[in-house]
Symmetry: C2
Subunit: 199 residues, 2 copies
């Protein structure tokens, strides 16, 4: 359809990214055609090097440029509180909230028996070893608030039940800026059940 | 925020693309991290080569790998009908409609005096020369259906008034799958005014 194979090639590459269809890909390709050379070569190199410049942290399994990762190495952070998340992107979300100063443990997903993801496919054994090693006083289970995330949190809680660590789960409730009228009833129910005193 | 400079770099590059914010950029970066090497290197190269592998067609100013472009070179296409569009992306849209077998002329934008885009910034002189050269029987003004596109179409029509070419403008009306209830009244009005006999 395009009269230039270079555009055709770029559009077909961009279309393979999640959430980018034919129209967005075409728009991005034409944007890049008109963009400054610096921006284009920067993007190309950033894409090319993403895989070789990234490793997993040996301790928390977060993505990093060198292991252990900057969070595990940071002396100002508290290693006795471990926040368990499914994916590195979830860790980024928690970091952005600015409310957490402990360490992390990235599971690499959530339990999903139908898709063949059992406990052995996740880094649950590594988490257990880390907690049993001692020094961890609290494990915050911050897997996603859905069926898989809940099942994973409960499974981990069972594994760690006999350790000294306190086991907590992130709170359910209404999202900020949400609207009761449009919220699903489970969320509204949890939000009511978890109601707190106004101070 | 990210613990890997490589991810940081990719996210910040991706964020400079139109329609891609922090969240989408992060999602795309993590997708690329987990994607097969082939897909990643293909995308990187397609981005890197987009500018040097693309030139403007000397005749219609479409983007192409060699000038004149495949459309201008195609003997099955009719050079006597010229469809005038604002941008190469518009040409792609017309091509996809499958309803046009003539040639094109890409203006490089629309008249926008406030943004400093006058007739000299567009390829209107080149279009006039092309029509005055002879052999063009119809000029279809397919600039966008908005104020700038209309002004550009009228300006070009004035310039070509004294030539032999028939001057036409693409039709206004309801988009396919549209809903009268939600359509703006100008579109509904035009759609009524342009009503056609049912056969």
């Amino acid at each position: 359809m395009h009269t230039s194979p270079a555009i055709e090639r770029l559009v077909s590459s961009l279309k393979r990214l999640p959430g980018i269809g034919e129209k967005s890909a075409t728009r991005l390709a034409f944007f890049l055609l008109g963009a400054p050379e610096g921006l284009v070569s920067e993007l190309s190199q950033a894409v090319a090097r993403i895989k070789q410049d990234t490793v997993l942290c040996e301790r928390c399994f977060n993505l990093t440029d060198q292991s252990p990762c900057p969070i595990c190495r940071d002396p100002r952070r508290d290693p006795s509180v471990v926040c368990v998340v499914e994916e590195p992107a979830d860790l980024v979300s928690v970091e952005k909230s600015g409310g957490f100063q402990g360490h992390y443990h990235v599971l690499g997903g959530a339990l999903a028996p139908i898709d063949g993801v059992g406990p052995d496919e996740l880094r649950i054994g590594e988490l257990e070893a880390r907690v049993r090693e001692g020094g961890v006083t609290e494990v915050i289970l911050a897997t996603n608030p859905n069926a898989e995330g809940d099942a994973t949190a409960h499974y981990i809680a069972e594994c760690l039940r006999d350790t000294e660590a306190r086991l907590t789960r992130i709170a359910y409730g209404m999202p900020l800026g949400g609207d009761l009228e449009y919220a699903d009833h489970v969320t509204v129910g949890r939000s009511l059940a978890n109601r707190q005193e106004l101070e």
